[in-house]
């Protein structure tokens, strides 16, 4: 089905709770107003209502899951801003701008295959939850790679149950299969009737996109990242080059973050 576009706005909400789930990685939880809705693949710009000492701009975060009446964001501390947000305590008033961007289109398909690199796992629990509800018989697979066992996010029973199969990879082999997700998928790129979804570091997405092209797979949807100042289409910061210009660029915040692999220049 094609997602209903939810009403985008500015919300001031207290950080409800946080939980560590891996090295440098945590859930941020909020209690949204009852009428607020969002779709897998969309994101929010998060900042504190009180100015931050270290991060002047907000940071974009994919909606990680919606459960128990809460919005969850999966946060990994990489740079200045995310490291700082990770130190915030529950009760801190935060500004959430969103939901923003184009969500994953959830077409009917016998197999839904998600490939995640590191924090690229963020949008997939929610996507799987929606697909599971909408297409009960469909097979939902997750291929999830991390640098090592420390950064690996252990899924809960409930989260695991969203997938028919979870295959795990680490670069150093300290957990699951050694090597990258893309290599790990070796012979499966050719399989027919698979709806592909990807999210992760640019090099991984580039490699995956190349594979998909090699096997003439069309319609794969990848959630990409680019630096954002506003997140809602006014600053023109978040450009990604299009495969077939003109226009030369697309704004990732409004014509993304979810893009069909064939549409952008990798």
């Amino acid at each position: 089905m094609t997602p209903s576009s939810a009403a985008t706005g500015v919300l001031a909400l207290p950080l409800d709770s946080t939980a560590d789930i891996a090295a440098g990685t945590s859930w941020l939880r909020f209690r949204p107003p009852s009428d607020a809705a969002c779709e897998p693949g969309q994101f929010f710009m998060l900042s504190t209502v009180a100015p931050s000492p270290v991060a002047y701009l907000g940071r974009p975060f994919s909606i990680g899951d919606v459960r128990d009446g809460q919005w969850l964001f999966m946060l990994r501390a990489l740079g200045r801003g995310t490291a700082w947000i990770r130190t915030l305590e529950s009760g801190t008033m935060m500004r959430l701008i969103g939901p923003l961007g184009v969500p994953f289109v959830r077409r009917a398909s016998p197999v839904h295959r998600m490939i995640a690199g590191g924090i690229g796992l963020a949008p997939f629990l929610f996507l799987a939850r929606r697909l599971r509800a909408e297409q009960p018989p469909a097979r939902i697979e997750l291929y999830y790679g991390e640098r090592d066992a420390h950064s690996h996010i252990e899924l809960t029973a409930d989260e695991k149950s969203l997938f028919d199969n979870v295959e795990r990879f680490t670069d150093d082999g300290s957990l699951g299969t050694a090597g990258s997700v893309v290599d790990g998928l070796e012979n499966r790129w050719a399989e027919a009737d698979v709806a592909w979804y990807g999210c992760g570091p640019q090099p991984m997405l580039r490699a995956a996109a190349a594979k998909l092209e090699e096997y003439d797979v069309e319609g794969a949807q990848f959630a990409m990242e680019e630096r954002m100042a506003c997140g809602f289409g006014v600053c023109q910061a978040c450009v990604v080059a299009n495969q077939d210009p003109p226009p030369r660029y697309r704004l990732l915040c409004t014509e993304g973050p979810v893009v069909e692999t064939g549409k952008v220049a990798w």
Binding site: A55, R80, R227, C230, V234, C235, A237
Partner: protein
């Protein structure tokens, strides 16, 4: 509408002194979901050229202490697409807010050309005036930009003035030794007023990659970091030209920041970067100024330039360190 907030800048009257700055509010429609643009004093469009521009290669922004640098490169849809695709929405939502069309070109001649287009489409567009962005590269002299070269600046402003009878505000660059001669030139060329400041040259180095973060190397600094710079030039211009309509810009995030500019001599102000972090910044500033005026039983018009009444430009800016 709060009468205390009404301000007149030359030939344009704004219902309040808070305008959306160019390039930070897109073409308007993006903000409508956050608050009604019609509640603003005015709205300045993203800079428009005759031809569309793709803008610069990414990364285009980097965060700095209390600010950011950008190298968007004046990406814009071009005049035709603006009129055909953006104006209908914008006109519908802008309401009582006055629309300023911000224009630029790659050389003085292009300023004349875009001004002519605005003039001929002025009814369809429904704009109250033009803001001229002179912060474009000086093709003649690499490295600097039109807004920093008095001859090119004069040629650009003259071209615009000759092509249109609309109110013209020239948006000054702070990347000069002194903005006064540029303002003087704008006045001589018949501009109705000035707006300032545009962004300040800045750069950030990625210490991991060991090269500039931005795709073009450097960019323009904006945000709270530059507030004192904008207030300084606003004050200096008001002292030099007591009757010159001034739109103050640079680092404004709160009504207190806005008031600093108004007291320094601005007749109205523009909010840019702050709207990225808090899309409701303009609304909060309008409310704050309204409360202040009621509490002190004064008006924005009365407050504008009040910091000069003590008459203390004295040694302005000369003895620092």
């Amino acid at each position: 509408m709060n009468e205390r907030l009404v301000v007149t800048c030359g030939r344009i009257t704004f219902q309040n002194p808070v305008l959306a700055a160019s390039g930070t509010f897109g073409y308007g429609s993006e903000f409508e979901r956050f608050f009604p643009l019609a509640s603003l004093g005015g709205f300045v469009t993203k800079t428009l050229f005759v031809e569309p521009r793709d803008g610069n290669p990414p990364p285009r922004v980097a965060e700095t202490s209390a600010g950011m640098i950008n190298s968007i490169g004046l990406a814009n849809v071009g005049w035709e697409a603006f009129v055909a695709e953006k104006v209908p929405d914008l006109k519908a939502i802008v309401g009582a807010a006055r629309m300023l069309v911000n224009i630029a070109g790659n050389a003085p001649g292009e300023y004349r050309a875009i001004a002519a287009r605005v003039e001929s489409d002025r009814e369809r567009v429904g704009c109250a005036g033009i803001e001229v962005n002179v912060s474009c590269p000086n093709v003649k002299e690499g490295g600097t930009n039109i807004g920093c070269d008095l001859d090119q600046f004069q040629a650009a402003v003259r071209g615009v003035r000759e092509e249109t009878s609309l109110p013209v505000f020239v948006k000054l660059s702070p990347n000069v030794a002194d903005v006064v001669p540029f303002a003087a030139c704008a006045i001589d060329e018949g501009a109705d007023g000035v707006s300032l400041i545009n962004t300040v040259y800045g750069m950030q180095i990625d210490i991991e990659k060991r090269r500039p973060v931005l795709g073009t190397g450097s960019g323009g600094l904006s945000g709270p970091a530059i507030l004192p710079i904008g207030v300084y030039w606003t004050y200096k211009l008001r002292a030099a030209f007591p009757d010159l309509p001034i739109l103050g810009i640079g680092g404004i995030a709160t009504w207190r920041d806005a008031l600093q500019y108004l007291l320094a001599g601005a007749h109205a102000i523009q909010v840019g970067t702050a709207a990225f972090v808090n899309p409701l910044a303009c609304v909060e500033i309008i409310a704050g100024l309204g409360r202040y005026c009621s509490q002190r039983d004064t008006t924005i018009a009365e407050l504008s330039g009040a910091a000069h009444r003590g008459g203390r430009l004295a040694e302005a800016a000369v003895w620092t360190g």
